[in-house]
């Protein structure tokens, strides 16, 4: 699967909002943000998913796209080019 149900994976915005909410009236500093929400919580799980869903495979320590991953990536890159969204998504 390329997509998730909204419930399956934690949305970064949801995690951020809940983290700020839990800090209560004291608020949350930028440093605390980075301590609580980092690559281990936002990126690494999605990299593992890319492998388990066969969008990519590991060759040594390098992630390489499978044909399926290549087709999906091309589809989104082409679409974004058509609508002239030069800024990368994500």
């Amino acid at each position: 699967m390329v997509t998730y149900s909204a419930l399956e994976a934690d949305s970064p915005s949801l995690v951020m909002i809940m983290t700020i909410a839990h800090s209560g009236s004291e608020g949350l500093s930028q440093k605390s943000f980075e301590e609580k929400i980092n690559n281990d919580t936002l990126i690494v799980p999605r990299l593992k998913d890319a492998l388990s869903e066969k969008l990519a495979y590991l060759n040594g320590n390098k992630y390489i796209l499978t044909p399926k991953g290549r087709i999906i990536a091309r589809m989104f890159i082409t679409y974004r080019r058509i609508i002239k969204r030069e800024e990368k998504g994500g």
Binding site: V2, P12, M16, E26, I43, V44, Y63
Partner: protein, 174 residues
């Protein structure tokens, strides 16, 4: 004529996509959500034209016509919803961004190289920017606070649904 009616939701979706792409290319590519609303509305117009034309030509009883319009409109709305999520995936999905980065690097990337191109800091900056812009989060004296409650309420509902359906509040809980 019957075929036109049968495919009215597909025709409307095509109008939706073309109008949304037109909006982004020739009006503004900065307001993606607006372009999606514009596209959907144009699709509804296309849908209405097809359905009204069909009704005027059709010999069927009015109730039967109305019921088929309702079904076709529901189909179009569902297709429009799927298109919205396709666009949204390209805009916000982390995995799509990662595989896009991998696609541009022909010989593949290590985890470290991926993190150099796309990382938690960028994700936080982008989303925090949106939350601050919409006043869902406010920044005061170097700290972040909850502003308007909409996103907080939505987040709490999602957490409740996670707990109810999946039995856990977060993907990181065992």
């Amino acid at each position: 004529m019957t075929y036109l009616h049968a495919f009215s939701s597909i025709i409307a979706l095509s109008v939706n996509v073309l109008a949304q792409v037109y909006y982004c290319r020739f009006i503004s590519n900065k307001h993606l959500l607006k372009s999606l609303f514009f596209g959907f509305f144009c699709g509804v117009l296309g849908f209405s034209i097809v359905e009204i034309y069909y009704m005027l030509q059709s010999q069927l009883p009015i109730l039967q016509n109305i019921s088929s319009v309702v079904i076709n409109m529901a189909s179009y709305s569902a297709l429009g919803y799927c298109y919205f999520h396709f666009v949204n995936l390209g805009e916000t999905a982390r995995r799509i961004r990662m595989i896009s980065e991998l696609k541009t690097a022909n010989s593949g990337l290590s985890a470290q190289q991926i993190l150099e191109r796309y990382n938690a800091r960028e994700i936080i900056e982008k989303r925090l920017g949106r939350l601050l812009k919409s006043n869902q989060v406010i920044y005061r004296n170097g700290r972040y606070y909850i502003g308007k409650p909409f996103m907080l309420v939505a987040s709490k509902i999602i957490v409740f649904l996670k707990l109810f359906i999946l039995g856990k509040k977060s993907e990181f809980e065992e």
